[in-house]
Structures are given as C-alpha cells and as structure tokens.
C-alpha cells in the first residue's frame, strides 16, 4: 500500500510539474507576450518597457524557473487588471466555486440516484426507457442554453430567484442546476448498470427470501453496493464541474474562480489566467489521487496491477 501510494504521489507531482510548464507556455503562444500585455495601440517604447518590467527579455527556461521558484515560495505574481496580488485574489474565490461544484454534484446525485434505481428495478420497461430518454435529452441540451432557460423561467417570469450576482444561497440555485443536470446522465447510467448487477446477486436473493421489505433490500443492501463506483466517478466529475464553472459562473456573474477566469481571459490578465489553469489542474490531480488511493485501499486488487 505504501509503495502504491508513493508511486501515485510521484506521478501526481510529475503531472503537476508538466502542467505548470504548459500553463507557462500558454502565454507564449501569441508569439510576443509583451505586445499582448502592453495592449492595443502601444508604442514600441511601451512594449520594450513592459518586456523589461516582466523580465520577458530573458531566455524562456530562465523565465519559467523564476516563475516556478516564486510560486513555490508563495509569491503568485500580481494581477495586471485588478492590481492586487494574484494569490489572495484567486484563493478568495475558490470557496464559491467549490461550493458551486459540490452543490452541482448534489443536484446530479439527487436526479441520478432515484432515476437510476427506478430504471434498474423496472429494467426494459416503459419507466426504464423514459429514464434513458431523459438522459439522452439532458446530454443534448447545451448547459449555457439551459442556464438561459432557467433565467427566463425563475427570474424573468416567476421572479423567484435573482438573475445574477452572489452572496445568498438563492444565487447558487440556478448555477447548481445548470451545472449539475449535465453530469447526471453519466451517474444515472452507472447506477443503473450497478444496480442491475447487484440485484442479481445471491445475497439480494437471500435478503428477499428472509422476507425483508422491498425498500430495505433495494436501498440498504443493493444501492449501498451499487454506489461504490459512483464515488470514483464523482471525484472525476468534480474536476469537470470546476471547468464547466467558467461558463456557468460567467452567465450568472457568480463571483467564483470560473468567473474570475473568464474576466482574466477577456482582460488579458495573464498572471491570473495562468494561475487559475494551474490551480484547477492541480485540484483535479489531487482529486484523482485521492480517489485512486481510496479505491486501492478499498480494493486490494488495484494495488497489484
């Protein structure tokens, strides 16, 4: 177990380091970042000054090493647009996005568990087909379009929820719905397949033969076992939700990391942009690392292969 954990840790560190190189190189895709930083209509003298100020006249490898070294010391640079240190700026938004991600995950599970169980219990019936249809239709609806539909319904027509902003729990309802419904089909299919397999197992037959009520058998015995792979998927999907938060937070002007990412991209605030790419990637690496180790701990077969 220790060897497995150490190996995974090493791999995660290597991935994080590679991502940091890529996030760093992202800025240099434009050719000359000094021109982009100086903005439109800048004179050559301004561009040269920017180049000097940000140390962009040094070799790439030196710039990268310098950037990484500062970050490892907790110096994340300064936001070009907000004129504040990028580190505290980003970490202050992280909470909102994590909250949104968890709420969206809750929405996804609240939709997918009942539907998945229903589809498995009445396999190949009309209910099963309807659940599948919901899943296929759900995956076809673009999430930004669904978000606009929610705004139309709940804010503009019914006037129940605020259109945009953040601060109260009401501000999180529509973003969580718009983000969560999209990952629900994946969970639903997994729960359905898991439940069908588990419901055919001997111990379920035993439980039924003992005369246990059907609800106890389904929810206590079967669902508990069918939900194990869902935990692994949840870790991965949370990573997807963090990425999807860019679109959804922007639509609802929810003051989280995703909205900040969008702002930094449109304002060409490169230090913030690089840092968010890096932070979200590292978060994903940590999530999959945790889920890998948890799985190996639960299932010894994984450790060996």
């Amino acid at each position: 177990m220790l060897a497995f954990t150490l190996k995974r840790l090493g791999l995660a560190a290597l991935v994080a380091l590679t991502v940091s190189v890529l996030a760093f190189l992202l800025l240099h895709l434009s050719g000359d970042p000094a021109v982009a930083l100086a903005g439109e209509g800048a004179r050559q003298a301004d561009i040269d000054m920017v180049r000097k100020m940000y140390g962009l006249d040094r070799p790439l490898a030196v710039q990268y090493a310098d950037w990484l070294w500062h970050m490892l010391q907790g110096d994340f640079g300064t936001s070009v647009y907000f004129k504040t240190p990028a580190g505290p700026l980003i970490f202050s938004k992280l909470q909102t996005t994590l909250l949104l991600g968890l709420a969206a995950l809750g929405v996804a599970l609240a939709i997918s568990i009942p539907l998945g169980v229903l589809a498995a219990l009445y396999k190949d019936s009309l209910a099963d087909r309807l659940c599948l249809a919901v899943a296929v239709l759900g995956q076809a609806l673009p999430n930004f379009f669904f978000a606009l539909l929610l705004i139309m319904l709940f804010s503009l027509t019914l006037r129940w929820l605020p259109v945009s902003g953040s601060g109260t729990w009401q501000h999180f309802v529509m973003p969580a719905l718009a983000l969560g419904y999209y990952v629900a089909p994946a969970f639903m299919r997994l729960i359905r397949a898991g439940m069908i397999e588990v419901l055919g197992a001997d111990y379920i037959r035993t439980a039924r033969a003992k005369g246990l009520p059907a609800t106890t058998v389904v929810f206590k015995h079967a669902l508990r076992n069918a939900i194990v792979p869902v935990v692994a998927l949840a870790a991965v999907q949370l990573g997807y939700l963090l990425g999807g938060s860019v679109v959804i937070e922007t639509i609802f002007a929810l003051d989280g990391l995703g909205y900040l990412a969008y702002q930094s991209i449109t304002f060409k605030d490169f230090p913030v942009m690089q840092l968010i790419v890096l932070l979200l990637s590292v978060l994903y690496v940590l999530l999959t690392l945790a889920s890998d180790i948890a799985n190996a701990w639960l299932d010894p077969r994984i450790r060996v292969s």
Binding site: L22, V136, P142, F144, R192, A193, G239, G243, G244
Partner: protein, 305 residues
C-alpha cells in the same frame, strides 16, 4: 491421446469460431431494425443535407442586414410574416437563413475536430497498446496530464491569446480532445494484441505496420467510430460554448452559439431569438448521440448493458 494431425480437407460446414459474420448483408439487416440508429441517423442526414444545400435552401443572404425589419417574430406569431419564416435578428438578418448556414459551422467543427483528435488519439493509443512498456508509460502519462487540464478553460485562454476564428477553434479543440480516443484505443489494442490471429500474423513474418493496419485497426474500428460520434457532439457543444462567451467563432459568422450570445439581451421580449438556435443545437447533439448509441449496439452487440 495422440495429437491429431491436421485434416487435409476441412468439412465444408466447419468455420473458425471467430469468423466474421457475413459483414455487409448481416449488418444492413441489423441496422434496419436499430431504431436509435435510424432515428438519430435520419435526423443527422437531414441536417447534413440542409448544410450541404444551404445556398439553395436559404431564402435570404444570411449576412444581409435590414435595419428597418429588426427582430421580426417568426411566421406563427401574430406580427410575423412568411417573408421571414423564422423572423429576423436584432440586425434584421433573416433568422432561417442564418440557422441554415450555421449548420455548416457546427457540422464542420464536429467533423474536423473528430478527425484531428481521432488521428492523434488513435496513433497514441495504438502505439501504447501495441508496444506496451516504455511507450505505454509515456502515452499514459500524456493522457493523465491532458485530462488534468480543463478543456474549456485552456481553449478559452488559447483563443484569447491567439485570436478567435473558425480555424483556430477547430485546431485548438482538435489538439485538446484526443484523450478519449487514446484511452479507448489503448485498451482495445491491448485486447486485440493478445489474440491468436495477431500472433499468427507475426509468426507469418508480417511487419509491425502490416499487423497494425491489417489485424489491429480493423478490429478496433467499431470502438473508434463510436468514440468519434461522441467526440464530434462534444466538440460542437464546446464550440457553441466558446462562441457564446465571445471567444470562439467571430461575428458575423452565423454560429449557433454566437447567435444565442448575440440574442441573449433580447431574450425576454423575443424568446425565439435564443430558443431557435438553442433547439437546433439540442436537436443536432441529440441526433449524433442517438446515432452513436445505435452504432454502439450495432457494432458491439455483446457489450450491451
């Protein structure tokens, strides 16, 4: 028991167990009974035809502005007219014509991204699965690294730095979305590689390239086709989201995502402006996903859940 010597003549009925079914006729017979494939493929074919014959079908020039006739509602509204069956947008451009030309953009994105990412991912997955060892380690590491970076965020940042255009979006998404191809091709190749016919081909002195092309590729092709449909759908949704955020296809091109973005300020009083391109997107994705599900059932019936 003595080892039987190979009979000099095989009885005419004895076929090897893994003989392919009569490919063409059998597939066609099963395809005609596959409702998901028929419905999905039918809708998709219709959209493709509309896109191909856009100049013949569009009633107006999709770029021609008519500032006198702005936001005219579709024909079924009281104020609508059959001159503009789906109304006009905020610049007085015919909405039906823009919708028809927009199908070209979505289909081009889906096809081009699936081809680019398919070639990259298949090459990587084949190499990793076939050669194993160090090649497999490198490819697996690249897949892990790629998965850790949120596609939408990296795509947004790249488009913001390089500049948005149809070709930039295609290239960026094509270079980002090879991961699923690589993952599936890798495990499919690993499976095929251990089959006896591959060993037989190698024993017969076939070169690696010949084995990959002649034995491995045809056998992993069903997986490849299914992944390609999923990736095409996902690429179309991503382009729409990027364009919706203003960092994808640029105006005045009639991308469906861009149409929703341009109309969202008017959505309360002119709901059709977002409903029409939104529904078109949902229909296209629905058709591709349904056709993909159908193809999956058709090409690998043994894996059906």
């Amino acid at each position: 028991m003595t080892t039987p010597i190979l009979p000099t003549t095989l009885p005419s009925t004895a076929l090897p167990a893994d003989a392919p079914p009569a490919r063409g006729a059998e597939l066609w017979r099963r395809a005609r009974r596959n409702r998901a494939l028929l419905v999905g493929g039918g809708i998709l074919l219709l959209i493709v035809l509309v896109a191909l014959f856009a100049p013949l079908l569009a009633p107006h020039d999709p770029y021609a502005q008519d500032l006198v006739r702005r936001t005219v509602p579709p024909a079924w509204y009281a104020k609508g007219s059959w001159l503009h069956p789906l109304g006009t947008d905020q610049l007085g451009r015919d909405y039906l014509s823009r919708l028809i030309y927009g199908a070209r953009i979505s289909l081009l994105i889906g096809l081009a991204v699936a081809v680019i990412s398919g070639v990259i991912g298949t090459a990587m997955g084949l190499a990793a699965g076939y050669f194993g060892g160090r090649t497999d380690m490198v490819v697996s590491f690249l897949i892990t690294t790629r998965l850790s970076m949120p596609v939408i965020l990296v795509a947004l940042a790249t488009v913001a730095i390089v500049g948005g255009s149809l070709w930039v979006v295609i290239l960026v998404l094509g270079l980002l979305k090879w991961d699923r191809f690589a993952v599936v091709m890798r495990s499919a190749t690993q499976q095929v590689r251990s089959q006896e016919y591959v060993a037989a081909a190698r024993a017969a002195g076939a070169s690696t390239w010949r084995i990959v092309r002649g034995e491995v590729l045809p056998n992993v092709l069903p997986h490849l086709i299914v992944i390609a449909t999923l990736e095409a759908a996902s690429a179309i949704l991503l382009e729409a989201a990027l364009s919706f955020l203003g960092l994808g296809v640029q105006p005045p091109l009639p991308s469906w995502g861009l149409m929703i973005s341009e109309a969202k300020a008017y959505m309360f009083f002119s709901f059709w402006l977002i409903a029409i391109p939104g529904s078109a997107l949902a229909l296209l994705i629905f058709a591709i996903n349904l056709a993909g599900d159908g193809l999956h059932q058709l090409l690998s019936p043994e894996e059906r859940a």
